[in-house]
């Protein structure tokens, strides 16, 4: 009973928030609606008994990803209205629905065949504990690879967004470094 009420409430809220995200012409509205939708999605994870996944969803999406987006939006002109692509609306909606139905078919195909055995059944211990056990035994190598991928993404983000990151001091000669320093000083004097 309460599960049904919670499901329908959060389904409505999530769909409304994401609809605002894809239709609004203001970047700030889109960002706020997306953050709210992410929080509402974590409610589904809590209903489904995936407590740790819900907590990770809140921490990573509304914490890290949204903070990153809001920092990124300081660089862009967000007050300007966003221009839209003028295409055939029916083709766009039709293609989107067909692709989404395909996704459902792909997901439900293995469920229809009943001869699959649960490899890691959900047991009596808490969700976080079981997730930890499975993550650090069967999925240890993907976990480490994901860690390296995040490290690479962090370094590339710093290099791309930082200033003067394309110059390497170790590859430059002494004279070039001194020229660069002089240029910097003259710029400061101008300011």
């Amino acid at each position: 009973m309460f599960e049904a009420i919670a499901f329908y409430l959060f389904a409505f809220l999530t769909i409304a928030m994401f609809y605002i995200t894809v239709t609004t012409s203001q970047a700030l509205y889109a960002l706020t609606a997306l953050a709210a939708g992410m929080i509402f999605i974590s409610a589904f994870f809590f209903i489904l008994g995936a407590d740790f996944l819900g907590a990770v969803q809140i921490v990573v999406y509304s914490g890290a990803v949204m903070a990153l987006y809001s920092f990124g939006m300081m660089f862009f002109d967000t007050t300007r209205e966003v221009k839209e692509k003028q295409g055939n609306k029916y083709i766009v909606v039709g293609l989107a629905t067909v692709a989404a139905v395909l996704v459902v078919l792909i997901f439900s195909a293995p469920i229809l065949s009943d001869n699959i055995i649960a490899l890691y059944p959900i047991g009596e211990a808490g969700n976080t504990q079981e997730v930890g056990v499975v993550l650090f035994t069967k999925y240890l190598v993907p976990f480490e690879v994901a860690a390296i991928m995040l490290l690479v993404a962090m370094i590339s983000g710093i290099v791309l967004a930082g200033k003067k990151m394309d110059a390497s001091l170790t590859l430059m000669t002494e004279k070039e470094i001194q020229d660069m320093r002089k240029e910097k000083k003259s710029k400061k004097a101008l300011l």
Binding site: E3, F7, T14, I15, F18, Y19, T21, V22, A27, A30, L34, I41, F44, F45, L48, G49, A50, L53, V56, V60, Y61, A64, V65, Y69, F71, G72, F75, F76, V82, K83, E84, K85, G87, V92, V93, L95, A96, A99, A100, V101, V103, V104, S108, I111, L119, Y120, P121, I122, E130, V131, V134, L135, K138, L150, A153, M154, S156, G157, L160, A161
Partner: protein, 102 residues
């Protein structure tokens, strides 16, 4: 109606996925395109968690974790590239991004 089953979650996931796809197809601004990509990844995460719950298997949740990790790194790299593009050309419209020349 009152009993929430796997199909309910899969239908919800489908609806969110179509919203995200409509966003990907009709947006011109690259930042908005990133938002739509996040919606796509999240709708698939709901399907993973629901199947994991109704099937009694933790593997679905594991995949959802890796999807979240990939989404986080995608945002970091994508926003870095977007900032570089905006510094150079002063816009982030998709129409001006049709050449690979640096």
């Amino acid at each position: 109606m009152m009993e929430i089953g796997l199909n309910h979650y899969l239908v919800l996931s489908t609806i969110l996925f179509s919203i995200g796809l409509v966003g990907v197809m009709r947006r011109k601004n690259l930042l908005m395109l990133f938002f739509a990509t996040e919606i796509l990844l999240n709708s698939v995460n709901i399907a993973f968690a629901a199947i994991s719950h109704y099937y009694g298997d933790l593997t679905g949740q594991m995949f959802a974790f890796f999807v979240i990790a990939i989404a986080a790194s995608e945002v970091a790299v994508g926003l870095g590239l977007l900032i570089v593009w905006h510094k150079r050309y002063n816009n982030i419209d998709l129409d001006y991004l049709n050449t690979m020349k640096g």
